[in-house]
Point group: C2
Chain length 164, copies 2
DNA sequence: ATCGATATGTAATATTGTAACGATCGTCAA
DNA sequence: TTGACGATCGTTACAATATTACATATCGAT
């Protein structure tokens, strides 16, 4: 996938996160939940953690093995597991996946995360959404029971605004 | 596409909207904007207006002609035009399209509509989002320029909650 | 050790969306 | 009127995304 503006380098990647630590945390989390953090799941999570922006499923598929791609169901199953565990989020407007912001696993708040998505460099920033009063009140009026909320703000990040 | 629960009839469709009137409004809107409301675009809009829930692109493609389907580019082009005109919204989490709530064309507020999407009967309700302070303030902190916001709340509508 | 539940491997296919390119239509100016 | 131009459309082909189905393997508890 390409981005809207491609006339610059866009070397705005943040410092690499500590992938190893996040992987270990995830193992612990799964153990505590009585779930199995298998090889495929760990590898999928690793590839998403390593990326500096949301990753497409087929990027994971292609990079899964050093030699040759994984089969789609392997990766889609892992993605769906990781999403259920609250370790990753699916970005609906990009058909892509991104690791959950650090340490919001225990809070249950991962149901209402929001994202700032840069149309230029492709990076995403997760933002906490403490409460969305407008949505809650309209849902209540309609008798609608909200299970989860997806909020995606598309636009330009600071670095890309300065580029343009 | 099927929904999560299928053990009931789910005859909760609202009264049919006045499709003809909405089509006429759309023609006027386009005329005023100096855009052409062509046959394909009108037909696509009509099919979306007639539906009681968000419609998939390939449903439009299949129903486009009385005999035989349209070609995908015809419909995707029309969908993209209608979206630019503010006549329809794309629902990212469903890969589907729904007509804009009546009479928010002139306001420019269609950039920040939100949706309540029932996982059971598939219906959608558009909700106005006057302001999303939490998003705006986090975006401002990050120096992020928001262009448009997608907000989709998945859950159960009142009728389906009572069914279950 | 073996049974049941969970997870994986594999092939095939379904669904969703675009690229490319020539033909046609509308508008406007000469 | 005519021609030129941009916008729109028709068509073919294909790319990208995701799932079904079913056989096999693995884990963990009895």
């Amino acid at each position: 996938m390409s981005h809207a503006c491609d006339h610059h380098d866009h070397n705005h990647a943040p410092a690499p996160v500590n992938t190893a630590a996040r992987l270990a945390e995830a193992q612990t989390l799964c153990a505590e939940a009585g779930e199995r953090m298998t090889t495929s799941r760990l590898r999928t999570y690793e590839l998403i953690l390593e990326a500096s922006a949301p990753v497409k499923a087929y990027d994971v598929i292609d990079r899964f093995h050093p030699d040759g791609a994984a089969k789609p169901p392997t990766v889609y199953r892992a993605l769906s597991f990781l999403e259920h565990m609250g370790l990753i989020h699916r970005i609906e407007s990009l058909n892509a996946f991104v690791a959950c912001g650090a340490s919001d696993h225990s809070t249950g708040s991962h149901h209402t995360a929001g994202f700032l998505l840069c149309d230029c460099c492709g990076q995403s920033v997760e933002i906490a959404l403490p409460a969305l009063g407008a949505v809650d009140s309209r849902a209540a009026e309609a008798g609608f029971k909200v299970k989860r909320i997806t909020l995606e703000a598309r636009g330009l990040c600071q670095a890309c605004r300065q580029d343009d």
